[in-house]
Amino acid sequence: MIFDAHTHLIGGITQNIEIMNRLGIDKAVLLPESSSRDYVRESNEVIKVASQYSSVFYPFCIVDPKDEHAVENLKKFMENGFKGLKLHPLVQGVAIHDTLYDKIIGNLKKSMPVLIHTGTPVYSMPFQFLELAKRHPNVTFIMGHSGLDYWYDAIRAAKRADNIILDTTGIRFPKVIEYMCKELGPERIVYGSDLPFLSADIELYKIQLLNLSTYDRNKILYENIYSILEK
């Protein structure tokens, strides 16, 4: 079983489904494209698609913290069935640890995880992520891309806060995932592809290449994200 913790809705869902079927990916977190200022439209498109494939997709909304209606819109999104929140500090022009995000995170339902892009200075760094995670210890934070080349910072941040989960999406050096597993345990890592932005074939192949036990592989490829979203 494979559960992709990081896919996007970009220009239709057909290509995602074709690729998922071909690669044997059973379920996926579905994130908005996250590239426009119109986060309400992007989020609504995601919930529409996810409701048509409710056994496959777990919809995440996106909220712009600079919008005066952000909290109000977040509450509507939660009522509409979103399972998590995506934030993109780089696109939103707000550093991860900026207190602007606190009002959003503070209004989340208890079980809703937050996935945040990392690895792009100056707004999206692992230790900024840690600052936010420490301020909201009851929220599960998924570190998108595990800081990319700042993977060591990502591991350090995860060591310092139990509510941080690392996501393998786009990691450039595959062996880093093995090292993460050794340092943090497989329970703290989820597989992601960034489909269709990145190649799901390549991202999945990175996991397949690694010297991981069946237990570790199952945790990373399916069980961790499933238990976060179904708790």
Binding site: L90, P121, L148, R172, S199, L209
Partner: protein, 242 residues
């Protein structure tokens, strides 16, 4: 047939480059020549003389012809004299610099004597790219100053700096891109389609990246045979005179 323009030899942290493992896997993919560099670390700071010596001693016992990247520390006085003395062009195919380890941007004047020497002697320069101080556009600025110098931007922009790859290559015909470590296949496809395949080079960056993975990425690019041959072999053959 393929040429691997860049892999690294040595041990850094949990990255361990075993030359025999490398050769076994490389042979599987018909890699006929490969250019090795000392692994990330002190080889680019204070141990560069020893590192070059070690590279030069790599045994040529395999079907794969091994070459080397020569490293230098730009802070050393009269650095070009050392290059002149130790750069054995039958083995070394270029100079590799590592700005983040050497403490400055690649376009800074302290590097200029090296570039002048390399330009004059037709020696290509390889600089891994990624975060500052080695973004593709920072590296490309060197080509503005040294128009005949062949510069290879390594690791395909690495992270989100894939977005600088295409504009960097547009800075000059003397700039090449080695494509390992870049997960954004679409960005690479777009750059190759926009610029043609003549300035793209295959590299594995083993042991940081993985040889099998880099080969799989090549097939994901869906290139026509001509472009594939250019990227995998012909461009490197011509650039490095292999």
């Amino acid at each position: 047939m393929m040429i691997d323009c860049h892999f690294e030899v040595g041990k850094y942290f949990f990255f361990n480059s075993n030359i025999n493992d490398y050769l076994l896997t490389a042979e599987k993919y018909d890699i006929v020549a490969a250019i090795s560099a000392p692994i990330f670390g002190r080889a680019y700071i204070d141990k560069w003389i020893e590192a070059n010596r070690r590279m030069r001693m790599l045994k040529q016992e395999n079907k794969i012809k091994l070459f080397g990247w020569f490293t230098v520390n730009p802070w050393v006085k009269n650095v070009t004299k050392s290059i002149e003395k130790n750069f054995d062009s039958t083995f070394f195919k270029g100079l590799k610099l590592f700005p983040s380890l050497q403490g400055m941007e690649p376009n800074m004047p302290i590097y200029h004597p090296i570039y002048e020497y390399a330009e004059k002697n037709k020696i290509p320069i390889y600089i891994p790219s990624g975060y500052p101080p080695m973004t593709p556009l920072q590296i490309a600025d060197v080509s503005e100053m040294f128009k005949k110098l062949k510069i290879i931007i390594g690791r395909g922009g690495f992270s989100d700096f894939w977005m600088e790859v295409e504009p960097a290559l547009k800075n000059g015909e003397n700039i090449y891109l080695a494509i390992s470590c870049q997960s954004n296949i679409n960005a690479l496809k777009k750059a190759i389609s926009a610029l043609g395949a003549s300035r793209f080079l295959f590299e594995t960056s083993y042991p940081f990246s993985d040889i099998d993975l880099e080969i799989k990425k090549l097939s994901s690019l869906n290139l026509n045979r001509n472009d594939l041959e250019k990227i995998c072999y012909n461009n490197a053959k011509e650039l490095f005179n292999i």
